[in-house]
Amino acid sequence: MEQPKVDAAAGAERAAGVGPAAGVGPADGETGGLFEVAGLRAGYVKEIDVVRECDVRVAAGQLVSIIGPNGAGKSTLVKAVFGLVDVRAGTVLLDGRDVTRVPTHHLVAAGIGYVPQVANVFPSLTTEENLRMGCYLSPRERATRAAWIYDLLPLLAERRSQKAGTMSGGQRQVVALARALMGDPRVLLLDEPSAGLDPNSVRMVFGEIRRIADSGIAVLMVEQNARRALASSDYAYVLDMGQNRFEGPGPDLLHNDDVARLYLGGAK
């Protein structure tokens, strides 16, 4: 337990609505990097790095996507950043503070939310209880935030006391997103939020994610729905074999021939 704790000031600053400190990121500091990952190496089994040399940067109000083939290490990258997978090298900065290897619950307290790709709800808990777990660290705000969520996603209001384990895949996805939003995060990590959703729900979820980003939250999203993700992202990274392959503003990558050929299933 010798890991550094997140400075309590992070929380205070957030409560006061102070934006990310300027100039704390690497020299170019262009986007003011609220959340930055540099040179990350991570993996599950000893001596095998699944993620090798990864750099990602997200600013407040930005929607940043990570795309890449199956097994590229996208989920691992996000989990590692969030303290759920062994980090072997590299740094994770939140507002310029080093939060590498900080225990997950401290990261949550510092304002990072996460929706995993699989097992993203508590199956034996009801919707209501899942949402309650979403703001586990700020129980006082529970009622107001739940009201807001139920308003935003009426689907959930109807299923308030249904166990999440008995819901359809798409409904679970919505519960998962709602759970993460309940924590009122500043940085939101989403692992394939559109997986398993019907076209209308995909549109709804992407719209919602865009809106969340526009409200000032830094959103880092892993997506298989690559074209749509690139189209609505401010910036994107292509990850392959655990390494950055391409990066650039979303629409630029969408129209990049190499990216299209290698990762988007052929030219448009």
Binding site: M1, P103, F122, L125, M133, Y136, G183
Partner: protein
């Protein structure tokens, strides 16, 4: 018929103490994914802690509280010194189980060393009271009442409190609980404290309903496990139902109409346990996948 009713009544008393014992084992299995074979012997420790108090002239209620506190401290101490360390190095479910087998041996034989082989009682049993067609002792009624209070209290804690929800969340999905801000290490420790209190009360209830001797917990650990498996892991209601089925079922097979020697009753429970585990490892009434 009267014999059957009397056996049911006896079974309910057994079940009440069993349920409190079972729910502790069950919580640890669900929240921490570990089978604690030493659970039975920790029940025994609590029963003896209360015995020491009673022998020192303290009233049984105080003895119960002392036992519960002592048991909670022991549980917490073991979590901090043993289980946590083992989990941190990635010890498997099985290595945790093996470690608890070792602990069970140490604890039980330390008790033998201190208290010898004799059986003890907190107080001489009182006269039986007729309740409708059946007879129950005051001790039996105390055990049933105590068991009910514990089970309802725990169910409420799991359902309504923040820590209870966090425990259920951890049981469901450890990583997601972490991702929601649950301090898993702290919640594990709190779970052990709660289980420790239950173990303390359960041990004393077993002592009130029966006799106190160093093998008392070990003798029932498989019964307790059978109750957990039957009822489904991780819920108070499951442990209660499982214990009722085991407790009452085990008394009923001794009905004179069946002509079985009473020693055989445990064999039936164990057989039932094996069959239940193999057919429905998630518990007969539980829905959660665990295996």
């Amino acid at each position: 018929m009267d014999e059957a009713l009397q056996l049911v009544a006896d079974g309910v008393v057994v079940a009440a103490a069993l349920a409190v014992a079972a729910v502790g084992l069950s919580l640890i299995m669900s929240v921490l994914r570990m089978i604690n074979v030493a659970h039975g012997d920790l029940l025994t420790v609590a029963a003896f802690a209360a015995l020491v108090c009673v022998n020192a002239g303290l009233p049984l209620v105080i003895a119960l509280i002392v036992a519960a506190v002592a048991s909670a401290l022991i549980a917490l101490g073991l979590e901090l010194s043993l289980w946590r360390r083992m989990r941190a190095r990635g010890g498997s479910n099985f290595s945790l189980l093996l470690l608890s087998v070792g602990l069970a041996y140490v604890v039980r034989h330390v008790l033998f060393l201190i208290f010898g082989e004799e059986t003890h009682q907190y107080a001489p049993p009182t006269r039986e009271l007729a309740i409708g067609p059946v007879y129950m002792t005051r001790e039996g009624l105390t055990v049933v009442a105590g068991g009910a209070v514990c089970m309802i209290g725990l169910a409420a804690l799991l359902k309504w409190t923040r820590i209870g929800t966090a425990m259920r969340a951890m049981a469901d999905n450890m990583d997601l609980a972490r991702a929601s801000g649950v301090d898993v290490a702290r919640t594990s420790a709190i779970t052990w404290v709660i289980v420790g209190v239950l173990t303390g009360v359960g041990g004393v209830l077993l002592g009130i309903g029966g006799r106190i001797f160093p093998n008392m917990g070990w003798n029932i650990i498989l019964l307790v496990f059978a109750a957990v498996v039957l009822g489904g892991i991780g819920t108070a209601a499951g442990a209660a139902v499982g214990s009722l089925v085991i407790g009452v079922g085990q008394e009923l097979v001794t009905h004179s109409a069946l002509g079985l020697p009473p020693e055989m009753k445990q064999a039936f429970v164990f057989l039932f346990l094996v069959v239940a585990l193999v057919i429905r490892p998630q518990g007969l009434f539980g829905a959660r996948r665990y295996v």
